[in-house]
Symmetry: C2
Subunit: 202 residues, 2 copies
């Protein structure tokens, strides 16, 4: 199999961290998003939505969407579990992962997409929407700080994919000056902990 | 357990259709979104993101996010499988479900949220973003029509949660005048098929 990756982008980083936590090595191919490689043939023929990462299996099957790729590896290599351990736990991890996606990572990406020069001409930018997305991330980070007063990780006392999604979202937020406020000591403690894991540099 | 539901909203409908396809009956409580019931206590204390649906388990555990709720029921009642049958298939269904979420259902909801009077004062509306979201749904529907020339359902030859997500997204699109174009005969054939299933009225 082959993983199409872009070192600078948040969604591929999510899969890289996930793989590093599992101790899985997969041959990777770098995709030049800045040069538009993902929006031209042959990449776009394989993934019509142009998203990176993308996993190409040996039989040619294309698997896109970072969480779908993570789920595939979770089933192939169940240890350590990063997506829950029984029906209820797996559902709760999915809930937390989706909360981190929709209220942290996605708005952090939308803040960039709708306000940054990089996306000018690539998408119909609406700066006001991008600014609101940034405000949403900041509001949710304040809320998340309160949540993390009571537990070590996002979905409970165990590190899961929800931590990875929050991590890549918050770290990517730096490009539009989203950062953890000094008073959010629980969020800071959590962020220091996930950043200290070897997977953080994946 | 108890399912908090709102008859008129698309995400609760996703769970209702999923349960109907499984033949599962769950006691439900109607939540008055229009009256703001989901944004006040006690609902907001249980689900700080105010989203409906929400599942309350007998031990008081709260499970939010419609796909997380579906995954829980998929594990409790595996038949008929609606989220894939082996590692690769489950990952592919997740990929298709996410594509339908991010490129059909979510922009259809954003089209409503950002342009409709219902959301005035509830969120910071950006009508231009809402209009772009509508355009995105229409573009993706045209693409989906081509995909459906080669197979019966969204993720392959079997009905899955990806069909449900596309169905609730496209049907909800009606509120902002999103509809299937006459020339998209494959999409129309698929939509007629999913609409004819007894679950469609759930």
């Amino acid at each position: 199999m082959k993983l199409y990756d872009t070192k600078t982008a948040p969604n591929p980083r999510r899969v890289r961290i996930f793989l590093a936590e599992k101790g899985i090595e997969v041959p990777t191919v770098q995709v030049d998003i800045a040069g538009g490689e993902n929006r031209t043939s042959p990449y776009i023929d394989k993934n019509p939505f142009a998203g990176v990462p993308m996993l190409e299996l040996d039989d040619g099957t294309i698997l896109a969407e970072s969480v779908a790729i993570c789920r595939y590896f979770e089933e192939l290599h169940p240890e350590p579990p990063l997506m829950g351990t029984d029906a209820q736990d797996r559902a709760l991890v999915e809930m937390w992962n989706r909360r981190m996606e929709h209220h942290i990572a996605l708005p952090a990406m939308n803040s960039f997409r709708h306000t940054h020069e990089f996306f000018k001409g690539r998408i119909p930018q609406v700066p006001e929407f991008g600014q609101n997305a940034k405000e949403e991330v900041l509001t949710r980070m304040a809320w998340l700080d309160g949540e993390l007063a009571a537990r070590e990780f996002i979905a409970g006392d165990t590190y899961t994919i929800a931590d990875i999604t929050a991590q890549i979202g918050i770290d990517f937020g730096r490009v539009t000056k989203i950062s953890i406020a000094d008073e959010h000591t629980n969020l800071k403690r959590w962020h220091d902990a996930v950043s200290a894991r070897p997977s953080a540099s994946a």
